[in-house]
């Protein structure tokens, strides 16, 4: 037996079909054909027209023929393909072109087990990929849902904050002030909870937290504990549960830990609320602190039923974990405590106390080298003083767009109250129309508005400003103010982002961030400021003719109130064209006296009329009326102090009066 015979026998026994190529897609078997071959193709003819029966082989023959014509060391092998027997059984096959004893040979084999292993591996990998894609989609959906929920929750909070700020400026009885303080406290707590939900679930925010201030933050653990207990004192009292904070043995001891104050206070609040939930009336909840070397420990002890026997401590701090007795909320409170304490490098756990009740404790690393944060006075925390709104350095022209009517009304009220000139818009399109009609120092835009949203308005504003020497200061009001959101909003053209729900201080802070704006114009001035006329300049312009000035003043005093009344009438009739024309005339007459604020207001009114959008006109008209009233007063004062010469001396020729009855018909 020659060597090729041995090889042929070997390959045949291994289940290979060895076929000699005779050209034109036909083959002759050179060894016994395996059973699978006969099950697939008719082998009775000689040669076998295999490429006709098998399109895959017909395609592979291109590569095989190239190999047979110029054999190379490289293998000429097909990938796996699958053939089907007449009864539907699938057989995987591979083909290889060979030169055996000078013959052009095609070796076909069934990779069998090896193929099924490969299938199984790929199936597992692709299933995992599909699962991953599904999971990513689910997470994305949930994130969107969460942001929608947070946005919806934030809206009423914004109204509550601003409404309570407005109320606090009214004259209230001491009792009403106490109620207001409670309301503010509750709305602040609600806001903190919403932010906690975001912090808990948002990866972006979580990343920013890790990289943020907490690395360097230091907070007084004792002060936080006192603050949290003070805030919950009335709730405990209502349930007749005593709440105490044990005083440290060493009053001079430092209780600074590496933590961020508001979240540390939230941890205490969550633990206290949890303790209260399981405390029977008449029992006591105690907050205590301990020093443990490099760590400081805080604990909350209650006299309730103790921990459930079937739950391990780590399960109690799990996500969405609620006690069997109910009464809890979403099951996020203790989970929040755990992930926050973990993040700060601390630990948290709980245990049943020997007598009765349970202890929930956490410990945090001591703050290294940082000066203590001044602890706020507890009494002050319980009844925080109403923040006095700080008027900005000078009044501004502000456009405020928000689709939420309450927020719009209240915010505009507050901004006007401190002397700003505010124009409101109900949506993005209206905002853009008003921006086109009138110039503003600051444009405050709600991010999510129906139709045209804040981003789109900001982009349009920036596009409009391109190439011009003007730039409005754009502030986005958004419930989503994570780092990525802020980056996106700034990319859209906003200068800064005001996180919703906002309080007045936040709003003033955002306004204060605006760069130096142009000197106050008519729209920006405080209404009470008297309009000043530089009479010397006016006189200089008319060649020092005091008599002429007097006549001008008389004419102005006579005509102007009528003009303003006519403008108001045109506005009532919604006649934009007439309003523009009247405003134009008024603009000219006030210019004579150098009354720049009034001139600017008249010009703004004229522009609104020309743009055909009178929605902001009532506000402007009010301002104009105030301005004109001041101006008239000013002019009357001048006329009184500088009486005109007797009429006889005035070199004015008057036309003789027409005689009656001579009117031309």
């Amino acid at each position: 037996m020659t060597m090729p015979d041995v090889l042929e026998n070997f390959l045949a026994q291994m289940g290979y079909a060895l076929l000699e190529y005779r050209g034109a897609g036909s083959f002759v078997p050179i060894a016994t054909l395996p059973g699978w071959f006969k099950g697939l193709w008719d082998s009775s003819s000689n040669p076998i027209p295999l490429s006709e029966a098998c399109p895959f082989l017909e395609n592979f023959l291109f590569e095989a023929e190239a190999f047979w014509e110029s054999p190379s060391a490289a293998l000429c092998q097909s990938e796996t393909w699958v053939e089907k027997t007449p009864d539907g059984h699938e057989i995987p096959l591979q083909a290889r072109a060979l030169f055996l004893g000078g013959k052009r040979v095609l070796a076909l084999c069934n990779p069998g087990a090896q193929f099924h292993e490969q299938v199984q591996m790929l199936q597992t990998a692709r299933n995992a990929l599909l699962d991953h894609e599904r999971l990513a989609r689910e997470i994305q959906k949930k994130e969107i849902l969460l942001h929608c929920i947070v946005h919806d929750l934030s809206q009423p909070l914004s109204v509550m904050h601003v409404a309570m700020d407005c109320l606090s400026e009214e004259s209230l009885s001491e009792r009403s002030k106490q109620f207001l303080t409670l309301g503010k406290l509750a709305s602040n707590q609600q806001e903190t909870m919403i932010r906690d939900i975001l912090h808990t679930f948002s990866d972006d925010l979580r990343a920013s937290l890790n990289a943020g201030t907490e690395e360097n933050a230091s907070t007084d653990l004792l002060a936080c504990a006192r603050k949290a207990t003070q805030a919950l004192a009335s709730t405990f009292e209502a349930k007749r549960v005593r709440l105490t904070v044990t005083s440290p043995d060493d009053p001079a001891a430092q209780w600074l830990v590496r933590a961020e104050e508001s979240r540390l206070q939230r941890i205490f609040s969550n633990l206290l609320e949890n303790a209260l939930r399981y405390s029977p009336p008449g029992s006591q909840v105690t907050v205590g602190l301990e020093s443990q070397g490099e760590f400081l420990k805080a604990y909350v002890d209650d006299q309730g039923p103790g921990l459930p026997k079937d739950l391990r401590p780590e399960q109690i701090f799990g996500l969405f974990m609620k006690g069997k007795q109910g009464g809890g909320k979403a099951g996020l409170g203790l989970y929040f405590c755990r992930i926050t304490v973990d993040r700060w490098g601390g630990s948290i756990s709980c245990l049943s106390l020997p007598e009765k009740g349970s202890r929930f404790w956490f410990r945090l690393p001591r703050a290294a080298g940082q000066p203590a944060q001044p602890a706020q006075d507890v009494a002050k925390i319980a009844a925080p003083a109403t923040p006095e709104p700080q008027p900005p350095p000078r009044p501004l022209r502000i456009l405020f767009a928000d689709d939420q009517p309450d927020i719009r009304t209240l915010t505009c009220h507050q901004l006007k109250r401190v002397g700003h000139r505010v124009v409101a818009a109900r949506n993005g399109s209206e905002a853009l129309r008003k921006i086109r009609a009138c110039s503003f120092d600051i444009i405050l835009l709600d991010h999510e508005m129906p139709g045209m949203n804040g981003d789109e308005v900001a982009s349009a504003v920036r596009k409009r400003e391109a190439g011009k020497n003007t730039r409005s200061f754009l502030i986005a009001c958004s419930g989503n103010s994570g780092p990525e959101d802020v980056a996106r909003l700034k990319k859209a053209g906003f200068d800064t982002v005001l996180s919703k729900p906002f309080q007045l201080e936040d709003l003033y802070r955002a306004l204060a961030a605006a760069p130096a704006v142009a000197p106050a114009t008519a729209l920006c001035r405080k209404p009470s400021a008297p309009a000043q006329v530089a009479f010397s300049s006016v006189l200089a312009r008319i060649g020092g003719d005091a008599q002429l000035l007097q006549r001008m003043i008389r004419t102005f005093l006579h005509d102007t109130p009528k003009r303003v009344t006519s403008i108001a009438a045109a506005l009532r009739r919604n006649n934009a064209e007439e309003l523009a024309s009247l405003a134009h005339a008024l603009k000219g007459s006030v210019s004579l006296f150098g009354a720049e604020p009034a001139r600017k207001l008249a010009q703004d009114l004229q522009e609104l009329g020309r743009a055909g959008d009178l929605s902001a006109a009532p506000t402007l008209l009010n301002s104009l009326q105030e301005e004109i009233a001041n101006l008239l007063g000013n002019l009357r004062g001048y006329a009184k102090q500088n009486p005109a010469r007797p009429r006889s001396a005035v070199t004015v020729r008057r036309k003789p009066p027409r005689k009656r009855g001579k009117r031309r018909r």
């Binding site: 098998c54 399109p55 395609n59 990938e79 699958v82 699938e90 995987p92 193929f115 790929l122 299933n127």
Partner: protein, 164 residues
């Protein structure tokens, strides 16, 4: 009888094999069975009075584990480009595959099929993508191998395009 080679192209798990099985054998299985290698099926059809055999090359979906062999398209008269409407990434993949086919084998007839329309509530075809598709001016059909919707139509449309 006249034979025409048609290739099935698209990302993995978009339903290429299911479309072929629905078309050839009128059967469907909900269980995802990945295709390794190539499966070739045949079906006799009559289009515009012409009898012909469609030779359907069901080629594995290209991914990180299996790279496409463009020699499989040798002699193809056309191809069905398949995407899964519930997975936007498969539509992007279809765009790149179409471009690759043009580069590798030139311009040949094809029909773009967005499969799984029985799950249309989960489709990720947004308005931007719709606009992109409209701009491409492709022959586009929605199909469901599960219900059979659009399957016959897709193959018939492709065959008509092949026959000119």
């Amino acid at each position: 009888m006249l034979q025409k080679k048609i290739c099935m192209l698209g990302s993995f798990a978009v339903g290429k094999t299911s479309l072929v099985r629905r078309f050839v054998e009128s059967i469907y299985s909900d269980v995802y069975q990945t295709t390794v290698g190539v499966k070739v099926d045949k079906k006799n059809v009559q289009v515009n009075g012409t009898d012909l055999t469609l030779v359907l090359w069901d080629i594995y979906g290209e991914d990180d584990y299996q790279k496409m062999h463009w020699t499989y398209l040798r002699g193809a008269s056309g191809y069905l480009l398949v995407a899964d409407g519930t997975r936007k990434a498969t539509i992007d993949k279809a765009f790149s595959l179409e471009q690759r086919v043009r580069e590798e084998v030139g311009v040949i007839p094809f029909v773009f099929v967005i499969n799984k329309c029985d799950l249309s509530q989960d489709w990720e075809v947004d308005s931007a993508l719709q606009a992109q598709l409209t701009e491409k001016n492709w022959n586009l059909l929605r199909s469901s191998a599960k219900t059979g919707e659009g399957v016959e139509e897709a193959f018939a449309l492709l065959t008509r395009k092949i026959l000119g």
